[in-house]
């Protein structure tokens, strides 16, 4: 069936992207989800291989689309669009069409490649990591569903499909964080993630509603006569700058929730309760990047002349400013918290928040290419780091870095790949993270000095905490004599090696001297075309900052043995600040308190309202209806049913009363009756003989 479809696609439109290909990209993982979910208990081990195969074919198609876009040079100005299905809503006079279809431009193609490629290798890694889990098939069902919805999110050509897939990846995230739901913490974490992101998603939905009311369309670009939002900004928003800015800010709310930006970042560290490959794929490489992707996709909206006039024009904010501010603050805040964490995955989680902040910052300062480039490189090296962490956790059976140590000699391959990932994240040239981060910082420097400064400080902190983690986990001597770590199986090491190659050389496509990436991605983005010639001094400054961070980290942690967490040299250095950071800026506490104050009182009000007014009304109506029917029933029973029976008895009684009067007690009378009967019969017989001629 599939091969027939493929042949059809190839034959009918050789070399070009056919409508069927993007559909297959989504349908293949989705069918894997269905099969694993429905028949997984029979397939057992086969579930993993099956989903690997189906997702793999989908990934190959992604790769093909990517290569096709590069080679054919399509997507430069003209978009590859198609529509699978149109939904007609609204009336005849005011038709409203939702074209469910796909949109392929350079951004989509590179995202397809990243999601498909990184996703597949992480699924391969999962085969080893999840081995022996009682819910093995369910894991792969969820992962397949995630791949399907993430690819759908990337491919979607309208806000409706984007939103549906957006919620679907959120659902997968929820399911996978709570995958080991026997653990109380996992159970709480998945609820937290779902609810916190829902806050942002509500804003996202409202933003879409406003856009629909402004543009009368949900499609990004014009297609089959449907108006495109991005191409009609000037006309539709004339004089509605406030409204546009509000819509864009609401869209950004969604991104803040999904991409774990301040103040909705609190769910991401807790999300580390899920299996480590999930953290790698969903909470580092792809899903959390969906927010960044969405901002990049709607970049023209953020870049448009929307202005938020607050307090009668006293404060004028453009959405892009807010994006940059929130991004840079998140980057800095998360990096400081990562500095003092002791859970290997939580460090990486805060690092992810910080890097996502970088991406938002880049998009906020108008560096479309740099932001998405960092998204791509980050996907590689952060997935790599998480998988390495998974490998370490697999070997040690704990997440606490202060129970590890000296793993370098036991796990050489993991160490080597971790080193590459760490270098990429810390921004050591020529690893991939360096180039993308450098591009962001260069743009930030041109755009706004304070933001650039925050970026550089964050870069220093990043190098510092990554070196701290590396030194404590891999260098020195083992802290726990009872642990017997071992290198992971090849099925887990292979993805590490592949991803580390990507993390190492991936950045070379975007060097300042020959920025292939930027020229690829920026086509058709006129507003993002401003390409600054990078001051080389900035670059060398960044390198120096990163190296300084690594050096500080090594001096603090690598030079001497630190037996446990309380001996952390930073504790002495930072004093009270250390506990402040350890408490994550007290943000969980404040947000928890705010939640209790605001939401709980709201909830208790709602409860009282529900119990008193709603329930009261419902009960009243119920009581009234029941009473009415009971009365009706009573009347029927009393007067119809009983009346019938009583009437019958009455008639019988009357008849009996009348008839009994012939019982006189005189034999004479009885005989008379007999005689009368006899005479009557006699008359009838005679009559018959006379009239009919026979008896």
């Amino acid at each position: 069936m599939l091969s027939v479809l493929l042949n059809f696609a190839l034959a009918s439109n050789a070399g070009a992207i056919h409508d069927v290909i993007p559909l297959l990209i989504i349908v293949l993982p989705f069918s894997s989800f269905l099969i694993c979910a429905l028949l997984g208990y029979k397939l057992k081990k086969g579930a993993g291989l099956l989903s690997l195969l189906l997702v793999g074919s989908s990934s190959l198609l992604c790769l093909w689309v990517f290569v096709d876009v590069i080679v054919s040079g399509k997507g430069n100005g003209e978009l590859i669009q198609g529509c699978w299905m149109t939904i007609h809503v609204g009336s005849k006079e005011a038709p409203f069409v939702i074209p469910l279809g796909y949109l392929i431009d350079p951004l989509t193609s590179i995202m397809l490649f990243v999601v498909g490629f990184v996703g597949w290798w992480i699924m391969l890694y999962s085969i080893g990591y999840m081995d022996g889990d009682p819910r093995y098939h369910r894991y792969f069902a969820y992962m397949s569903l995630f791949m399907a919805s993430m690819l759908g999110l990337v491919l979607s050509n309208n806000f409706v499909m984007l939103y549906i897939c957006w919620e679907l990846v959120g659902l997968c995230s929820y399911l996978l964080i709570g995958f080991w739901y026997e653990r109380e913490t996992a159970m709480r974490a998945c609820k937290k993630a779902f609810i916190v992101t829902r806050l942002g998603d509500t804003g996202f939905a409202l933003g879409i509603f406003i856009l629909v009311s402004m543009f009368g369309s949900v499609a990004f670009y014009p297609l089959d006569g449907v108006n495109g939002i991005f191409t009609s900004i000037g006309r539709a928003t004339e004089g509605k700058e406030n409204m546009l800015a509000l819509a864009v800010m609401l869209l950004f709310c969604g991104a803040v929730g999904k991409s774990a930006q301040f103040p909705l970042h609190v769910w991401l560290p807790d999300a580390m309760e899920g299996p480590t490959p999930v953290s790698a794929l969903i909470h580092a490489a792809t899903m959390v990047a969906a927010g960044v992707y969405m901002v990049a996709r709607c970049f023209v909206l953020f870049d448009a002349n929307g202005k938020l006039n607050l307090f009668g024009g006293l404060i004028v904010l453009s959405p892009a400013h807010i994006v940059a501010l929130i991004g840079s603050f998140t980057a800095f805040m998360a990096a400081t918290v990562a500095l003092v964490q002791t859970d290997i995955k939580r460090i990486l989680a805060y690092s992810t928040i910080s890097q996502l902040g970088y991406m938002m910052m880049a998009l906020g300062v108008g560096a479309y290419s740099a932001g998405t480039f960092h998204l791509v490189t980050h996907a590689f090296f952060k997935a790599l780091l998480f998988l390495c962490a998974g490998s370490v956790i697999h070997a040690m059976g704990t997440n606490e870095i202060f129970e590890m140590g000296g793993l370098k000699s036991v796990m050489p391959i993991t160490f080597a790949t971790y080193l590459i990932g760490m270098g990429a994240l810390a921004g050591i040239p020529p690893l991939s993270g360096f180039w993308s981060k450098d591009e962001i910082l260069t743009h930030a420097f041109v755009h706004s000095k304070p933001i650039w400064l925050i970026g550089e400080v964050t870069a220093f902190l990043t190098a510092l905490y990554m070196t701290r983690q590396l030194c404590i986990v891999f260098l020195g001597s083992p802290r726990n004599p009872e642990a017997h770590p071992h290198e992971s199986p090849p099925v887990m090491l292979l993805p590490l090696v592949v991803l580390s190659v990507g993390a190492a050389v991936g950045g070379l496509i975007g060097t300042p001297w020959m920025n292939l990436y930027a020229s690829f991605i920026i086509h058709g983005m006129a507003s993002a075309g401003a390409h600054h010639k990078p001051p080389t001094a900035i670059m060398f400054f960044s390198i120096a900052v990163s190296l300084l961070g690594v050096l500080c980290g090594y001096l603090l942690y690598g030079a001497r043995h630190i037996p446990n967490h309380s001996e952390d040299p930073l504790r002495k250095l930072l004093g009270n600040l250390y506990s402040f950071l350890e408490a994550k800026w007290h943000m969980d506490w404040y947000e928890g308190k705010a939640t209790r104050r605001v939401f709980f009182s709201l909830v208790s009000f709602c409860r009282r309202f529900d119990l008193g007014v709603v329930d009261g009304f419902v009960n009243l109506v119920g009581w009234a209806v029941a009473y009415l029917f009971a009365q009706l029933h009573r009347f029927f029973d009393l007067y119809v049913v009983d009346g019938f029976i009583n009437g019958l008895a009455f008639i019988t009684g009357v008849c009996g009363d009348m008839l009994r009067r012939i019982q006189t007690g005189f034999i004479r009378h009885y005989m008379l009756f007999v005689l009368m009967g006899f005479v009557f019969l006699l008359i009838v017989s005679i009559w018959r003989i006379v009239v009919l001629g026979h008896p």
Partner: protein, 103 residues
């Protein structure tokens, strides 16, 4: 001697009518019983006459008459027993006064 069917039937009808008249008019229970006997014998006469007329070589009519006489004897026996029992309770045999079995 002209003795056709008609003479027998007329005699029988007269006897029967006298019986019915007696039943309807007499107050004495014994007289009523006697009237019943009269009616039964009217029927017997009919049986014998019609039997002799229709099947002269057989005795079906006479046989029925014999049965009726037997049953009438039994009936008279029970009837007199009842009348004696009533007499013991009411000290009279007038049916007009014995009317407690009424509504």
């Amino acid at each position: 001697m002209v003795s056709s069917m008609m003479h027998y039937l007329i005699l029988s009808a007269m006897l029967f009518s006298i019986g019915i008249y007696g039943i309807l008019t007499r107050r004495n229970a014994i007289a009523i019983l006697m009237c019943i006997e009269l009616m039964l014998n009217a029927v017997n006469l009919n049986f014998v006459a019609i039997g002799a007329h229709l099947t002269p070589n057989q005795i079906t009519g006479q046989l029925f008459a014999a049965f009726v006489i037997t049953v009438a004897a039994a009936e008279a026996c029970i009837g007199f027993a009842l009348i004696i029992a009533i007499y013991r309770n009411f000290e009279k045999v007038s049916v007009d006064d014995i009317n407690i079995m009424r509504w």
